[in-house]
Symmetry: C2
Subunit: 394 residues, 2 copies
């Protein structure tokens, strides 16, 4: 195992009426004015925005609102939010939504506290030195942004999807009421669960020779739990225990816990998906499922024992004659599981037919115009990335 | 599952040369003067205190020192520490040691920031409203105080051992270098591992009808990991992976993670042990092992299914004809495990022979002079507590 730091200071308030505490939690932050940032109409229609506003009013906290965040959140709205916050003197951003809204809120927070064009920080031209404080009222169990240090924004100019991670952007608090996710459509529920799993799986497939036994046990236990809970939530969308399990797993899977002692994880599947998500606007979790098994079959031979451990301890498969056989059974089992929850395991199952030229372009962008390799388990260059896209399109 | 809050803001710096970062970490706290608080001579002899002092000096941080903390840390030294800190203008306490030193540091922190006699807060006569900031350089994997909200102090006047929990006392940072635990004697290593396990087991045996599946998976995975790691560390005290697993487990087992969605846990075994520890000064983990199986056999019939799940998923036993049989096999297996690492499973195995009168006195004190019941899985009154001490003395 490797040395690590772990710092997940977000104050989690979890349960059925947690939303009512938002006023108190914001007030504790000692801010002057809040931006309530949200997505489409569902937070409004469901009455959630009103509940949040009432709680803020009861606590005597001033606020303004900005909606319109879409999946794969856009730089345009982020810039609008920054300008609005500057004009209105906002010093706290309250995200009411899922990962896209929280990521957009973090981007606004970066924009408020760092000079110049906020995209420069996502494009890795500059390094941020602060982020205005962000809190979250979570409505989707998926991205884990409510406890993570990361955010991902899409620049409409070129449809580039880029991530920015820093400790400054950890949410001050996260309010998690699993009942808010009862109305999520099945596809979004499944896509969210896949996203949760992938945050731990990316960390699990580490290039470290001897990963930390404790971290492995926690990661494997979390993955088994998510598989059980998403299956139950799809059967009965109002299964509180299942929805709660998914919601808490979304946070634990991306706050660093399941990566302690690793090299930070592989993340090639995420990079492969970012290009798809940026260009074709697919659901993030679904996009991850569409590329994962192709990535896995490509890199597995570098360390079949690791994939065999995953196969037995997570997927519960019977060991084969050797690690390679066990590993392949595990990848097959994960594909079958993804399919069982309605997720794609090939890109064309999302209604996208990639031409040869498309695959070359995606690989070119994913390799940052042939200047980087992605992943650690096996670093993949532009040609190798292209091969994975090709395998995932068969 | 029940609603919960989770807030574990301690910044963990984990690894082989983490101690060198202590100066920087203390400086980030913006304090003026540090008390380095430590225990016996080992921190001095090993050169650890010198390394800490050098790092503080390099960062330009002023400090004074106070040693002498003993296991089951005493109120007397706490009061001495408070007076010293007041006189010297200390505003940050750096604990260099294990749980006893960290708990003593937290008690000094409470004393510096709350009026009157600090014992009143441990005796539950008053509620603290603050705690001076504490950081830790951990040298023993056991108590988990480096990430927990709790501390336990023994009052020499009556040898009362009492705990105080509040969010104010969470360490600002925890420096964890597993190599610092290489020289721990086998008995302390095993006792520490037992303490770690018990922090999760207390939470696992909840009175909640449907515990959180995810929390169960994490708890079970942590327990299996500790059992594996302590066995390896006893075989080879310089097994880095094993020592690292134990150290990280000590934090995760008591920072709240393994209790999310429960009622906070049972904690009767801890209360039973506190009386033994206060009066007979036994190693905390050993004392817990000496009472646990007697507690377990007493309460198990209230929910055999819970103990059966523990038996299968943690102890790996074959299920019996019914939950009761499986549960008993699990308790037997845990006793065998405790014995395998040199821990007692009866009070007399610690060289203590309790008379009838002793047991009555312990039960009287443990029930707060017959004014409270202990535990939640099955609340135990003075008579029931006496029966457990009796069973544990057979």
């Amino acid at each position: 195992m490797l040395d690590f730091e772990y710092h997940a200071p977000t104050h989690v308030v979890f349960g059925k009426n947690a939303v009512e505490k938002v006023g108190t939690l914001v007030k504790e932050q000692g801010c002057k004015k809040v931006l309530i940032h949200y997505g489409g109409g569902s937070a409004k229609r469901s009455g959630l925005l009103d509940r949040v506003a009432q709680s803020l009013e009861a606590a005597g906290v001033a606020y303004i609102q900005l909606g319109g965040v879409v999946p794969n959140p856009r730089l345009g709205l982020v810039k609008e939010g920054i300008a609005l916050c500057r004009k209105e003197g906002v010093d706290f951003i309250l995200a009411v939504g899922g990962g896209s809204v929280i990521d957009s809120s973090k981007a606004i927070g970066y924009g408020l506290t760092n000079e110049g064009d906020v995209w420069d920080y996502y494009a890795k031209k500059k390094v941020p030195t602060a982020c205005a404080p962000v809190g979250a009222v979570l409505t989707i169990a998926a991205a884990g942004s409510e406890m993570s240090n990361s955010s991902v924004i899409t620049n409409e100019d070129g449809w580039l999807k880029r991530g920015l991670s820093s400790e400054y952007s950890r949410c001050k608090f996260a309010i998690m009421d699993p009942t808010l996710t009862y109305t999520l459509p099945a596809y979004q529920t499944a896509s969210g669960a896949a996203d949760i799993m992938m945050h731990t799986m990316e960390r699990y497939f580490t290039a470290v020779d001897v990963p930390m036994n404790l971290t492995d046990n926690l990661a494997e236990g979390l993955l088994r739990s998510v598989m059980k809970d998403v299956t139950a939530a799809l059967r009965n969308p109002e299964d509180y225990e299942a929805r709660a399990g998914l919601m808490w797993a979304s946070s634990l899977s991306h706050n660093g816990l399941t990566g302690c002692g690793t090299d930070g994880g592989d993340w090639a599947s995420h990079q492969l998906e970012h290009e798809l998500g940026g260009k074709y606007d697919v659901a993030h979790g679904a996009g991850l499922c569409a590329v994962w098994s192709s990535w896995a079959r490509t890199v597995m031979p570098a360390n079949p024992a690791r994939f065999a451990k995953f196969a037995v301890n997570v997927m519960g498969v019977e060991p084969g004659a050797d690690d390679m056989e066990t590993a392949n059974r595990g990848i097959d089992a994960m594909e079958a599981f993804f399919q069982s929850i309605g997720m794609p395991t090939r890109i064309n199952q999302m209604g996208i037919t990639l031409s040869e030229e498309d695959m070359r372009e995606l690989a070119h962008k994913c390799s940052f115009m042939n200047t980087r390799k992605i992943g650690k388990f096996v670093p993949l260059d532009r040609e190798a990335i292209y091969e994975v896209y090709k395998l995932a399109s068969k």
